[in-house]
């Protein structure tokens, strides 16, 4: 306690010590000799120096020793004839007490410096932790942390003008001009502060008292230095009258904080860049896979079309080579394949749209009966085959959905069933199942093998059988994406007596009255 730098000099303990010492000397006056008494005085004077600054200690001890000399050293109540002895005694006592006082104050100063260092180090460490925490939480160190840490260090020149910290944090790389949009500002700088902060960011050196640059400024301009340059700058108001040493210490600490901020910002930016590069590479790889798959899906029907069309074209020179039925078959395959291409491009486009972030659904109240009816009508328009039947439970509630998307989903499922279950009847069934509306497209074809039942919903995955024939490409993946965009589900179910069932489930909500 006695050696803490903030221990206040106090006159009470030294006075008590002296009173005690005099009492002791008086008490033992006849039992100990003068030398022992003088030693007691010496001890008292050394002790009092612990509480007092060197000057005060010397003054008090000088007075006390004169008193001692006057009262106790013979001849009592007066300064005796042996002046030189008294001078030696008083001088030695004062010397010891002065030494003690100087040592004590130096010790105090050292303790004070050590404590200040520890405080500064702790502040830096705590600031570093706060930066890491904010980086982890927000993906970027929060510049407000630096402002809040610097704020208590700011010195107001007078009480009327409150000292405020101002920060400039660059958004990206240093802009060519001092465009205030290119930086994030914390605090409200005036025009001078703006110019100073921009200049400090550009040159990455500090301005202000003790820096050798713009010494007269009542503030430090400190760059937020990273390894590659400044990421911004901070303005810290200071009192130029505070003296060079405290200012230098303050600047070192503030600069250390600013550099920590600068490095954290730089690190965050590097991390972001690395992440973006990784994501970019991933997207590129995915895009390549998708493009390869799409190209494959388009190329197969194109090959058929080109083959059939060129056969018909070549036939013009030699009319006997193809009979009417063969020509009809070729034309039919061109039409069929072109339709397939149209479907693939519709599906791929729609899938890309739904796969994007927020695809806007055009929700309206729709009737399952109408949606099923429209899908059947579309199928009828495409082929003469009458393999598809509808069974819609009467009195179904209305659905809140995007009609065009659900139509596309049903159309794909029906087309899929017709393609994969050749010769089998296809049934579209709609019924209520508790709080859901169930629309199922069912066939009596070969079904999907157990190992592939989830994979068929992946884009560009097809069942083994399908791979040998035609691909639905993104068809089923799109259907599932549509179902999920509506908060519903699309699942495959194997039917008990053979065949596939694709079941769409959508939640039933109460329509308005």
């Amino acid at each position: 306690m006695l050696f803490r730098p903030d221990a206040r000099p106090s006159l009470l303990p030294p006075l008590l010590i002296w009173l005690g010492a005099f009492a002791l000397v008086m008490l033992l006056d006849t039992r100990i000799d003068l030398a022992a008494q003088a030693m007691l005085m010496l001890l008292a004077s050394a002790l009092t120096a612990l509480w007092l600054p060197p000057g005060a200690a010397l003054g008090l001890n000088c007075a006390a020793m004169l008193g001692f000399d006057f009262f106790f050293v013979p001849p009592r109540a007066g300064l005796g004839p042996h002046l030189h002895e008294h001078v030696v005694l008083i001088g030695a006592t004062l010397g010891v007490s002065g030494l003690a006082a100087v040592l004590t104050s130096r010790l105090r100063a050292q303790v004070g410096a050590a404590e200040a260092h520890a405080r500064e180090a702790e502040q830096l460490q705590r600031f570093g932790e706060a930066l890491r925490a904010s980086q982890a939480a927000a993906g970027r160190p929060d510049p407000a942390l630096l402002r809040d840490t610097l704020a208590p260090l700011a010195q107001a020149r007078d009480a009327a003008a409150p000292a405020a910290v101002v920060l400039l944090v660059l958004r990206a790389t240093l802009p060519a001009t001092d465009d205030d949009g290119g930086a994030e500002w914390l605090g409200s700088p005036d025009a001078d502060a703006r110019t100073g902060l921009w200049m400090c960011s550009r040159r990455a050196i500090a301005f202000g008292p003790g820096t050798g640059r713009y010494e007269e400024l009542p503030a430090f301009y400190l760059p937020l230095r990273g390894l590659l340059g400044a990421r911004g700058a901070a303005l810290l108001p200071v009192d130029p009258q505070a003296g060079p040493e405290p200012l230098a210490r303050l600047r070192a600490q503030a600069q250390a904080l600013c550099d920590q901020m600068g490095q954290a910002l730089e690190r965050a930016e590097a991390e972001r860049a690395a992440q973006a590069a990784r994501a970019d590479a991933q997207a590129q790889a995915l895009r390549n896979t998708l493009l390869a798959a799409i190209a494959h899906d388009f190329r197969t029907p194109l090959a058929t079309i080109l083959g059939a069309a060129s056969a018909l074209q070549g036939e013009a020179g030699a009319p006997e080579r193809l009979d009417a039925a063969a020509r009809q078959r070729l034309a039919a395959s061109i039409v069929e394949e072109a339709r397939g291409l149209a479907r693939i491009s519709d599906n791929t486009l729609q899938f890309a749209r739904l796969d994007g972030q927020a695809a806007a659904l055009h929700l309206d109240w729709e009737s399952a009966e109408e949606l099923v009816g429209a899908a059947l009508h579309r199928q009828r328009g495409r082929s003469e085959e009458r393999r598809v039947k509808a069974r819609v439970e009467p009195g179904l509630p209305l659905l809140r959905c995007d009609a065009a998307l659900i139509h596309q989903l049903l159309d794909n499922l029906i087309d899929n069933a017709l393609k994969h279950a050749e010769g089998s009847a296809v049934e579209v069934r709609a019924r209520r199942d508790a709080e859901q509306l169930l629309i199922a497209v069912r066939d009596r074809g070969p079904g999907v093998p157990p190992a592939e039942r989830e994979r068929v919903f992946e884009p560009y995955e097809r069942g083994a059988a399908a791979r040998a024939r035609r691909g639905s490409g993104v068809g089923l993946a799109l259907c599932r994406a549509i179902a999920e965009a509506h908060g519903g589900s699309l699942c495959y179910r194997a039917r008990s007596h053979g065949g596939a069932a694709f079941e769409l489930r959508l939640a039933v909500t109460e329509p308005p009255q």
Partner: protein
């Protein structure tokens, strides 16, 4: 005299193919590759039907649609690669008779053209008040509806809805138009009324309501009476 068709399409291959196919069907075909050309031909060639592509080099086909609708009541079919329901509805509301999304087959195009022509032009007056198709007879002036010879009783709203579709038979009538004409202008968002009354109409007029032959649904756009 054969009917004349104005084909406005900027894609050369498609224009040539469509023009050829239409000539085979006996139409007189005028072709235009730009909006300006199309506007000039609407004036001078007096076509009986217009096929209009939307994305033209010198402007949007909607300008031509507006010009045609200001002056004539000839059928106009939009052919476009833009498959977007919002756009479809807007064009239909602006007076297009039908909307075909590319790619489409010639057969489909001809069928839509036949329907549009059947309900326009010289038969227009008759088409407005009488409708006969697949056993369904509707006589709007006599307020009578019969199916396979048997009288069908419709509620007043059902009849108004059917009458509105009969007046535009063959054409897509958008939800908004139906709601405004049958329920009134402040009901254009109440699609659920429409669903319920269409279901009732189908239950009364269709053999298989879930597989309709007459009261057809255009998902997300409107209804069409075949």
């Amino acid at each position: 005299m054969s009917l004349s068709v104005l084909l406005v399409e900027d894609e050369r291959e498609l224009r040539a193919t469509l023009a050829e196919a239409l000539r085979v069907e006996g139409f007189t075909v005028h072709t235009a590759a730009s909006l300006a050309e199309g506007l000039a031909l609407v004036e001078h060639a007096a076509p009986d039907l217009v096929l209009l592509d939307l994305g033209l080099p010198d402007g949007d086909g909607e300008t031509l649609l507006a010009a045609v609708r200001r002056e004539r009541s000839i059928p106009l079919l939009v052919i476009s690669a833009r498959d977007h329901d919002g756009g479809k509805v807007r064009l239909l509301d602006a007076g297009a008779d039908d909307y075909l999304v590319k790619p489409f087959s010639i057969g489909e195009l001809l069928a839509r053209m036949r329907v549009a022509l059947r309900h326009r032009g010289r038969h227009m007056v008759a088409a407005h008040t009488r409708y006969e198709q697949g056993g369904l007879h509707v006589d709007l002036s006599a307020h009578r509806v019969s199916l396979d010879g048997a009288e069908v009783h419709l509620t007043p709203t059902e009849f108004k809805l059917l009458a509105r579709l009969v007046r535009s038979a063959g054409q897509v009538v958008t939800h908004r138009t139906l709601l405004a004409d049958v329920w009134g202008g402040d009901c254009t968002e109440q699609t659920h009324y429409l669903r319920l009354y269409m279901a009732q109409l189908r239950a009364k007029l269709e053999a298989e309501p879930a597989d309709p032959k007459l009261l057809l649904t255009e998902p997300g756009v409107g209804y069409r009476l075949a």
